[in-house]
């Protein structure tokens, strides 16, 4: 009897440790593609071809990064990406805060239908919008312009933002606002001094989501721009891979690192808040 219990405890202990296998797989699966590319961006041109492969570079060779930094228009692309991502995210978050507040705190006619009208477009295939959008922007003479991309990025970020924020605002007790109202606080004061400070986790989540959308976006910028000066980092990365006959892999990969690092850093700073916020938004 005693032995049996012992065997069972050991069995349980083994079973409880078994999660390490999928966990290790998860880490390998997530990191390896990135690590293999990241490490190669520090390798020399020849080292990349070396068999057997080395996971880590022999020396930290910065040639590829220099090539990228000195390449023509590189900082124009960085500027375009950053400018579009930041402006469209600010507009998208601002607009979604207003809408989320409206949906969360008021009862009004057609509220349900109007909320659906904002949320349903979330399921519209983004890539499939490129043909009608191209037609629309060319009719408006907005091809090759910042506004065309800014408007589009803002619009694609709003549905999910509004969803997350509406859910979050609903959880903020009405009593706080009522008290403020009695003290004479106006609508914008209640939003600014009560709602915003209490919603920082949700605001961080929607900011990261909006920035990610715009920073990484590719189909729209491909369809709506043709001029070199309008390219964003993902677009130029696409061209880079396309343009080279024999690919200079370290350079392509160094460029890739430049596109990943800023958004990843931003995300990792706020990581805890984003994961929970994202999920609550996705599930509702």
């Amino acid at each position: 009897m005693k032995r049996e219990i012992n065997v069972q405890t050991i069995g349980n202990a083994v079973n409880k440790r078994l999660y390490w296998i999928p966990l290790a797989l998860l880490i390998l699966w997530t990191v390896f593609p990135l690590l293999w590319g990241f490490s190669a961006s520090f390798k020399t041109y020849a080292e990349v071809y070396q068999v057997p492969p080395r996971i880590l570079p022999r020396t930290l060779n910065l040639r590829a990064y220099n090539v990228v930094l000195e390449s023509r228009h590189f900082f124009t692309y960085v500027y375009n990406s950053a400018y579009l991502a930041i402006t469209s995210s600010i507009i998208a978050v601002f607009v979604s805060v207003l809408a989320g507040y409206g949906f969360a705190k008021y009862k009004f006619r057609f509220a349900g239908i109007l909320l659906l009208l904002i949320l349903i477009p979330r399921i519209i295939p983004r890539a499939s919008l490129i043909i009608p959008l191209f037609q629309m922007m060319s009719a408006l003479r907005l091809l090759n312009s910042y506004p065309a991309l800014m408007i589009t990025y803002t619009a694609t970020a709003i549905p999910l933002n509004t969803m997350v924020l509406t859910g979050f605002f609903r959880g903020i007790p009405q009593a706080l606002e009522d008290a403020a109202s009695i003290d004479g606080a106006k609508l914008w004061q209640r939003i600014w001094y009560i709602i915003i400070p209490m919603s920082l986790p949700a605001l961080v989540t929607v900011s990261v989501m909006s920035l990610r959308e715009a920073w990484n976006e590719f189909p729209f910028v491909l369809a709506l721009t043709t001029a070199t000066r309008m390219r964003t980092l993902p677009y130029q990365l696409f061209m880079l891979r396309d343009a080279m006959g024999i690919e200079d892999w370290p350079v392509v990969l160094a460029f890739t690192v430049f596109t990943i690092v800023p958004i990843l850093t931003f995300y990792l700073i706020f990581q805890k808040k984003v994961t929970s916020g994202l999920v609550s938004g996705a599930i509702k």
């Binding site: 043909i131 191209f134 599930i283």
Partner: protein, 296 residues
């Protein structure tokens, strides 16, 4: 300021407040997204050709032309294969990952945050990473094969292997979000449930299939919908990874639509393909959501 106070005291203005708050969002979403979709569907019934003036209404003619093209039928089939395998592989991986994340106690927040990393990487960057991983000369996998004395596999030169690589890359891209959704489902369950079932003598598999899966069914539905959406519309990863090739081995509907629209400038026929993708998306999500409805 004085007028604002007067205005806001006015009952009619009070009634208008929520509408005013949501108007900007509605303008963006309807003006850009809804309008584009409706405009695109509309375009599919007209002949829009830069070489021919005017835009005559031609009814279903574009649909007839596109549906009779072999290239369309092939890319349609390829899309189904691509989505089926991406979603299946994606569900298996994300379910395993979600389970592991559910059980891990130390640094669980860190691991969770880590899971989401591919979600932050752009489609283009994902494509570059996987192209590099599976390349014939510089790819890790082939270099390992060579080091072991085995024959190289030209993944991107072989139609079936290329489709495989594209599916793996796409899965990498879509798994994080699905993992988090399933994890949220698991975390909402009552942990005592497992204890009781195990004490009563239920095996691990019974617990999994009889308790866990039925209880998180709605979450499985959501993650399937999400993954199939992302996959049907996948374009960012495929175009830079294979360009739809070799030949047309990886030309799924979204890539075909881009080619037909922007390489051949047959916009209205591209709009037909857009409509097909839209209908497929809706059909698949209705299917998943009705199959995976919650028990209650």
């Amino acid at each position: 300021m004085g007028t604002t106070t007067a205005l806001s005291a006015h009952p009619r203005f009070k009634k208008a407040v929520p509408y005013l708050l949501i108007t900007p969002a509605l303008v963006f979403v309807i003006g850009i997204l809804a309008y584009s979709v409706l405009y695109g569907i509309g375009m599919s019934f007209f002949r829009i050709d830069l070489a021919i003036p005017g835009r005559p209404f031609i009814g279903l003619e574009n649909y007839r032309v596109v549906f009779s093209e072999e290239r369309f039928i092939n890319s349609f089939r390829r899309s189904l294969v691509f989505v089926f395998f991406s979603v299946t592989l994606g569900l298996l991986l994300s379910f395993g990952f979600a389970n592991a994340l559910y059980r891990v106690k130390k640094m669980s927040a860190g691991f969770r945050g880590f899971t989401l990393v591919p979600y932050l990487v752009s489609g283009i960057a994902t494509a570059i990473m996987f192209r590099f991983l599976f390349s014939g000369t510089v790819g890790f996998i082939n270099q390992m094969l060579m080091a072991l004395g085995a024959e190289r596999i030209l993944f991107l030169g072989n139609p079936n292997w290329a489709l495989f690589v594209v599916i793996v890359a796409n899965t990498w891209f879509i798994v994080p979000f699905s993992t988090l959704v399933l994890l949220a489902g698991l975390q909402a369950l009552d942990p005592d449930l497992f204890e009781v079932a195990t004490v009563e003598g239920a095996s691990k598999l019974t617990v999994l299939f009889r308790i866990i899966i039925p209880l998180i069914k709605p979450m499985i539905g959501i993650s399937l919908v999400w993954m199939s959406f992302a996959s049907f519309n996948m374009f960012d990863v495929i175009l830079p990874l294979t360009g739809g090739g070799p030949g047309r081995a990886t030309e799924v509907l979204a890539v075909y639509m881009y080619r037909i629209g922007f390489d051949f400038l047959r916009y209205s026929q591209g709009a037909v393909v857009m409509t097909v993708i839209l209908v497929l998306n809706i059909a698949v999500s209705v299917f998943f959501l009705s199959v995976f409805r919650g028990e209650d």
